[in-house]
Amino acid sequence: MHIAKKKDFYSALTILLLVGICFVESRNIDPGINFALGPLFFPNLLLSLITFFSCILLACSIRGGAAPVADRQPLDVKTLVARVVIVGMTALYLLVLPLLGYIPCTMAFLLICMVFLGKRTLRALALYIVIAAVITLGLQYIFGSLLHLFLP
């Protein structure tokens, strides 16, 4: 089987898999007292539509003509690593935020991200420390003191 558009093929498969999980979950929903068109009518209709559209996309990705130019672009490993690290750093930040509190976590997150993405000189590091401190404390002042909103 020749897959002409790999991105479309795999994205359609992923969507179909998620739709399948939702269909299974829909069997566990108690519709309660049945009014006309119960609570499952619309979700099931939408799941059917997503399935229908995804199947078309899947079929087109297999038999469709040439892949779009974007599909053929080489993967930039450096950028990919940067994205993965930033996503990982953000996940870690969110995990420790409720445990350690807003100020230490936010300052550390800002500083580490800036060092990772930017220049690594002594002067730049000093700048990053100042920016991280100003942003963290400034946000705390704006959200906490001025607007009386809770911070994590």
């Binding site: 991105k7 479309d8 979950e25 935020l97 607007l147």
Partner: protein, 495 residues
């Protein structure tokens, strides 16, 4: 439109004026930074308005909206990088002018075109809002459902690269709105046995995640560094350019009308209008070959249409509660946070808020002109902020802003995962706007359809007696057919 006096006078209070001036300035700076859109500007500002009065918060959001749309002009003109999608067409002629040493003049054309386009958008907002508002009061479940269907076809049609992916994206958005308690019968759906999914997906975490995180991740691969740009920008040039606008009046009016027309259509907005207006200006020019080589008419067309579209986009927001674009979609979220339900009854129940939005729009436009004329050189400095500093700050702002919605880490995790999902969808060519609009419209779509079905005695025959609903459904069907036709035609041409 009869403007409520309390609302009108509120805008002219010193505190409101100061906040709005700061909002326009902030919007201009954000709009000038490549990658930061008006949607993100409003998204970042929405949490800041939580602690404010509703009136002050809405005036600030309108000011930021106006500023950020215009701010894109700076980066588009001086760096050939559109700060916002609404400035894409501006780059076609403004950057060639900058290259030949006319950067200041190009900016002046853009600033005046923005100002005049916004003024025409204001006039449309003033004249068309009551007409659409009165029309909207005749809406029942049939009409609302038909309107949602029409909106969805508009949204899908903007997914010009792939209608199919636009349709999938919109349907996924509609399905996400089904998660949680059913609006009509209160049955929990698709919660997978967890408590946190029972309340469903809030719009704001999904919206902020989809647009901010995916944008940051996408921009990380963009190696276009903002270069320090020098541009002479004198008051004299402004006056010379202002005088030369008399030769481009028709281009200005036509482009503004295109902007207003497209702005009114739900799910479209300034991102599309600048391209359409530019194409029209080029097609009707005596010398179309000069476009793309530094013709001021190209800048006028793009900038007047994208600013006029902001006025157009506010019309469905104020009269129907339907977002004209992603930014007004954010503003709907802000309305709801402040306990105001946008829709046909807004003009009757909250006349002062409508007046504040309309007058804030006008005042912001003057602030925009004043700031751009005087502080453009200072604003250019914002372009020098490196991504390494900018991106982590945006992430922290989004996290704190999302948490502040309900003081809930669940919302923050929804924001995070939706950001990753949004990026994955973006990379695979799925447009994000239909998904988010689907999420907004999903609840309304289901409840209005079920209400219409029940009202009609468990039948859909009632639609046949509702001319407005039938018209919307007919136009939706026509629009879908035309899009399918043009899409297949394009494919054949490409093949």
């Amino acid at each position: 439109m009869f403007l409520n006096l309390t609302g009108t006078s509120f805008v002219f209070e010193p505190l409101t004026l100061c906040i709005m001036l700061a909002g326009v300035f902030g919007g201009l700076v954000i709009g000038a930074i490549p990658g930061l859109t008006s949607t993100m500007a409003v998204a970042l500002l929405v949490p800041v308005t939580y602690g404010m009065d509703t009136q002050l918060g809405l005036a600030l959001l309108v000011a930021v909206y106006m500023g950020s749309i215009s701010g894109g002009l700076v980066a588009a003109t001086l760096l050939n990088i559109p700060g916002t999608p609404s400035s894409v067409a501006t780059t076609f002629d403004a950057y060639p002018m900058t290259k030949r040493g006319e950067g200041g003049k190009a900016l002046a054309y853009g600033v005046f075109a923005s100002f005049l386009g916004s003024m025409l958008g204001f006039i449309a907002l003033l004249i068309l809002s009551p007409i659409l508002g009165a029309f909207a009061l005749r809406f029942g479940p049939y009409e609302y459902f038909a309107l949602v269907v029409f909106t969805l076809t508009c949204i899908i049609s903007i997914s010009r690269k792939s209608l199919l992916k636009g349709a999938i994206s919109a349907t996924i958005g509609l399905f996400l709105a089904m998660v949680g308690l059913s609006e009509i019968d209160g049955i929990p759906r698709f919660d997978f046995g967890t408590d946190w999914l029972q309340s469903g997906f809030s719009v704001m975490p999904v919206l902020i995640g989809m647009f901010a995180i995916s944008q940051i991740l996408d921009d990380m691969g963009n190696t276009n560094k903002a270069k320090a740009a020098k541009a002479d920008f004198t008051l004299r040039e402004f006056l010379d350019v202002a005088a030369s606008f008399r030769h481009s009046i028709w281009n200005l009016i036509r482009s503004s009308l295109i902007g207003i027309g497209i702005g009114i259509l739900p799910g479209t907005g300034s991102g599309l209008s600048n391209i359409v207006a530019y194409a029209q200006a080029k097609n009707s020019a005596k010398n179309p070959d000069s476009f793309g080589k530094g013709n001021p008419d190209g800048i006028i067309a793009s900038e007047s249409s994208n600013n006029a579209a902001t006025g157009g986009a506010l019309i469905p927001l104020l009269t129907l509660g339907i977002p004209g674009d992603a930014t007004t979609l954010m503003m709907i979220g802000a309305f709801m946070i402040h306990g105001v339900q946008p829709g046909p009854l807004l003009m009757r129940d909250h006349a002062e808020l409508v007046a504040i939005i309309v007058i804030a729009y006008l005042v912001s436009n003057f602030f925009m002109l004043f700031l751009q004329m005087n502080f453009i050189k200072v604003m250019i400095k914002a372009l020098d902020v490196p991504q390494a500093i900018l991106f982590p700050i945006i992430i922290v702002l989004c996290v704190i802003g999302t948490y502040a919605l309900n003081s809930s880490m669940t919302d923050v995790w929804v924001f995070f995962f939706m950001g990753i999902a949004g990026y994955a969808l973006m990379r695979t060519g799925y447009p994000l706007l239909p998904l988010v609009l689907g999420l907004i419209l999903g609840g309304m779509c289901e409840s209005q359809f079920r209400s219409a079905y029940t009202t009609g005695g468990d039948s859909l025959v009632g639609f046949l007696n509702r001319p407005i609903a039938l018209t919307f459904l007919g136009v939706a069907l026509l629009s879908l057919c035309m899009n399918l036709y043009s899409s297949s035609k394009k494919k054949k041409e490409t093949a």
